[in-house]
């Protein structure tokens, strides 16, 4: 499930970028949960995803692709 994709830290990343990653991840997480609970309209959700620099179509495809293997960790 790609609805909540995380924040990535890599070597050489500066502090602002890391905090921005965290901000965006948290924003996505809140929006995803609101969407799952039916409190956020699908269009608004996709708009937020698009504003963060992702292609909604690609993510929808990813979500619809069945997850293989693994537990919850």
């Amino acid at each position: 499930m790609a609805l909540s994709f995380g924040a990535l830290w890599y070597p050489g990343q500066n502090e602002e970028d890391w905090q921005l990653e965290l901000d965006q991840a948290i924003e996505r997480s809140i929006a995803s949960q609101a969407f799952l609970e039916g409190k956020l309209d699908a269009d608004d959700y996709l708009e937020l995803v698009f504003q963060q620099g992702y292609e909604p179509e690609e993510i929808i495809e990813d979500v619809l692709t069945p997850r293989t293997g693994g537990g919850i960790l």
């Binding site: 499930m1 609805l3 909540s4 994709f5 995380g6 924040a7 990535l8 830290w9 890599y10 070597p11 890391w18 965290l22 991840a25 948290i26 996505r28 997480s29 809140i30 995803s32 949960q33 799952l36 919850i72 960790l73």
Partner: protein, 184 residues
């Protein structure tokens, strides 16, 4: 037309090789790599039962717990009362988790599929023996009412503590919780 000699020789060679292959045991690993896991209690960020945040029992890799600095750093509880009270996570619930890859300072090129595949560079670290380079552990807010800010503080603390250990090619990934769960 008679079968040429080279073809018969090749068939003989292949048949003998096949027989040798089938009559010998396949090599397999005789040792067992222990991957011990430990139970700990996770407090969810999004999942609520009524007004309460339920305590969820998760099974966590001991190596990852040690790497990230123990259960307290990850906001998990290991007290016997919590462990006794905790329940299993519902279906489709995915906890917030930290995923780390320890980088190797001098990455070496490798060939995939045991030497016959394409060349790639392995940046994952700890080349000494069978040392583990990838760690995954859930991260929660602990006892207090969970908020994103607390999770951020915890993630920041772990990142700062692990900067040196992750090395020049390491990665640290914070995946936030997905509670696509309907509780009746």
């Amino acid at each position: 037309m008679a079968t040429p000699v080279w073809k018969l020789q090749r068939m003989l060679r292949d048949a003998q090789a096949r027989e040798t292959y089938l009559s010998t045991e396949r090599p397999s690993k005789t040792t067992y790599d222990a991957q011990p896991r430990k139970k700990a209690v996770y407090t969810p960020l999004l999942l609520k039962v009524g007004a309460e945040y339920p305590k969820l029992l998760l099974s966590i890799s001991e190596a990852a717990l040690t790497f990230f600095g123990g259960a307290t750093a990850l906001g998990l509880s290991e007290t016997p009362t919590d462990l006794a009270d905790a329940v299993r996570a519902p279906r489709n619930f995915r906890p917030s988790k930290l995923m780390a890859m320890v980088g190797d300072g001098t990455p070496a090129p490798k060939k995939a599929y045991g030497g016959t595949g394409p060349r790639y560079i392995d940046y994952s670290g700890n080349t000494a023996g069978n040392a583990q380079a990838h760690f995954t552990a859930p991260i929660s807010c602990g006892d207090q009412t969970p908020t994103y800010d607390q999770l951020r503080t915890k993630a920041n603390a772990i990142r700062n503590a692990k900067l040196a250990a992750l090395g020049s090619y390491g990665r640290l990934d914070l995946i936030l919780e997905v509670a696509n769960v309907s509780l009746v």
